[in-house]
Symmetry: C2
Subunit: 244 residues, 2 copies
DNA sequence: CGTTAGTTTGATGGTCCTCAAGCACTGTGG
DNA sequence: CCACAGTGCTTGAGGACCATCAAACTAACG
């Protein structure tokens, strides 16, 4: 409850676990090695090992895998406050690539820093583990979407999920949010062609549900959109981990 | 290198991390609370909380999510040696259901047992964390498959992955393996209709690539199958976690 | 011996892909 | 200042892939 401008990560974790002064301090310390990267140039490439992890503080990133035939599947998007490559640090597997969608700011976190932080403040470790688990739940939900929802519901669900995630770190509002993704990004994430993405967006727009134009998403009728997507934010908003 | 019959989990972990006597003992102790479940009856249901975890020692299980319209998406299959509900214990979120495909044998693991085991043998903790990370990588690969591979490649990839996983716990061989899944299971896992699964299987069989009949998968031409699926087992076989 | 679960095959049609082309906007270099 | 290329959005036409509906068949089981 002070006037300090907290990082998006701090903000996200605080929404679920009450963090003490000491924990906030450690969290702040993890943000020391600030770095920036330019749009389009891979941060980490498929197959690299022994990478550092990053805490994203500004800009968007996507994690993806490409196939032999050149098609790519975006697995997830990272927004401010998200960890990036956490798994590749704890274990040494970077099985996919990370590409900044815009120019970004991120704090580099070495494995040693992270392990030390975990040792000092177990509660923080739990909180971060919780965030990682939430990311995993999102991937699962993504899988369900691609496997069992048609293009329209998939898009609706995706835009709603993104809205909820952004709201948690203080970006955007219930009415909408700024979104730097192109229709190609959407296509690669949703397992559709860019052409079809365009048609689906048009249909949603003309149906008065949601408008995605010029880098901005506007929920024109949130209720009906939630209905169409069968969007249940339970997997995002669940209460925190064993926080006795 | 002794004559003791190790559990599938022990066997799996040993393939990647050399475990000392003490660690093997702790691992054995985790297998104490043996329980069995009958086919078709959910072990854990979507939305339950504070569940125990299980180590599957015999039989197959699938984890899935169902949607409002009744369709379901199978997220992953668990085979002997796999953990089940590990996430729901560490954090308290069971965001999907588990259904035994056959009658199964599993060891119940309470959160407290697990935490104690981790505290006693950090190397074991790392090994288990590695296994969890491997599971996550499989979900990602599954996502890519559904998003970017056609039905045939998807099926081919799935059957190959399963073969590799089973081989690791000593079930099946390079030529094939027993598989209790129905075509409905395959359909729900691969995001296809059961009818189409049947046709795809026929095509693969007639093409001389792989035969799935009467509960048995036979690789008729593994090389061409790998080629069709663009199967790269890197995400399964990677060397173990920071095991200095 | 009827019932149920699982497999197989045919017919029809919808969703979404591919190919193709046009448009708007931005930045770049002559 | 303007041609030109590059990026992203938009729309049309045709067709592939896969879903859905329907029905027959087999094996297992009480």
């Amino acid at each position: 409850m002070d006037a300090v401008a907290h990082s998006p990560l701090t903000r996200k974790l605080s929404a679920f676990v009450t963090l003490a002064e000491a924990e906030l301090a450690v969290l702040e310390r993890l943000h020391q090695r600030r770095r920036s990267f330019v749009a389009g140039q891979d941060l980490v490439h498929q197959g690299q090992s022994d990478q550092a992890a990053y805490i994203l503080s500004e800009g968007w990133v996507c994690s993806y895998k490409t196939q032999a035939d050149g098609s790519r599947q975006i697995v997830d998007f990272q927004i401010p406050g998200d960890f990036l490559g956490l798994r590749s640090v704890l274990l040494r597997t970077s099985d996919h690539s990370f590409e900044p969608i815009e120019d970004i700011q991120a704090a580099e976190v070495l494995a040693s820093d992270l392990l030390q932080a975990f040792a000092e403040t177990p509660r923080l470790a739990t909180a971060i583990l919780w965030a990682a688990s939430r990311d995993e739940a999102m991937v699962v939900e993504h899988l369900v979407g691609i496997g069992r929802r048609d293009a329209e519901a998939r898009m609706a669900h995706f835009l709603l999920e993104l809205g909820s995630r952004l709201a948690l770190v203080g970006i955007g509002s219930r009415e909408g949010y700024d979104c730097p993704l192109t229709q190609y990004h959407l296509a690669d994430a949703l397992g559709l062609s860019a052409v079809h993405v365009n048609r689906v967006l048009r249909k949603l727009r003309e149906g008065g549900l949601v408008t995605f134009r010029e880098g901005h998403v506007t929920f024109d009728n949130r209720e009906r959109l939630v209905d169409l997507a069968e969007f249940d934010p339970g997997y995002l908003d669940q209460s925190g981990p064993l926080l006795k």
